[in-house]
Subunit: 108 residues, 2 copies
Amino acid sequence: MRALKYDSNGLLTGVAQNAESGEVLMVAMMNAEAVALTLETGQAHFWSRSRGKLWLKGETSGNILDVQEVRVDCDGDALLLRVRPRGPACHTGNRTCFFSALEEDHAE
Amino acid sequence: MRALKYDSNGLLTGVAQNAESGEVLMVAMMNAEAVALTLETGQAHFWSRSRGKLWLKGETSGNILDVQEVRVDCDGDALLLRVRPRGPACHTGNRTCFFSALEEDHAE
């Protein structure tokens, strides 16, 4: 129905959400290969800009995100991965990467 | 606590989530001014790449996103806006921009 729209670097935004609790776990970029592998394997894959490589989330930690559903937004440049996490989603050991409140004096 | 990390275009990713239901509503980019205005006004502001301008979500439709809390991720390049929407978040009239399931044959 809806074509995916990758940016000039071949990337779109992926948002992983715990399908059961609704908690937003992480945001990372995906290229076409990451999208295809996520759909094929049912495990969330991303593109690491800092490392310049494809990345199976949890490949070293074991904290795989098993994907139950993938949703796409109205303009096709963001995907919502509804997942069941096998462990903490954040490399810090926190359940979510969004464990900090933004305080106003740190926003600028 | 955590400095925000804007990309080479001065942007980071904003994810708006209904604070009550947990539904993910939309993903859009934010520049420093959008972040500052969001915090100052309590209404979600974004940066429109296609229009090249700052954008108060709902400025024409009235479907403002009132922001209850802003959270930042572990590497400082994504914000989670926990909001109370005044109406449908999507310009299509849908409650969320993620109203479509991605089907495997449309992903490539």
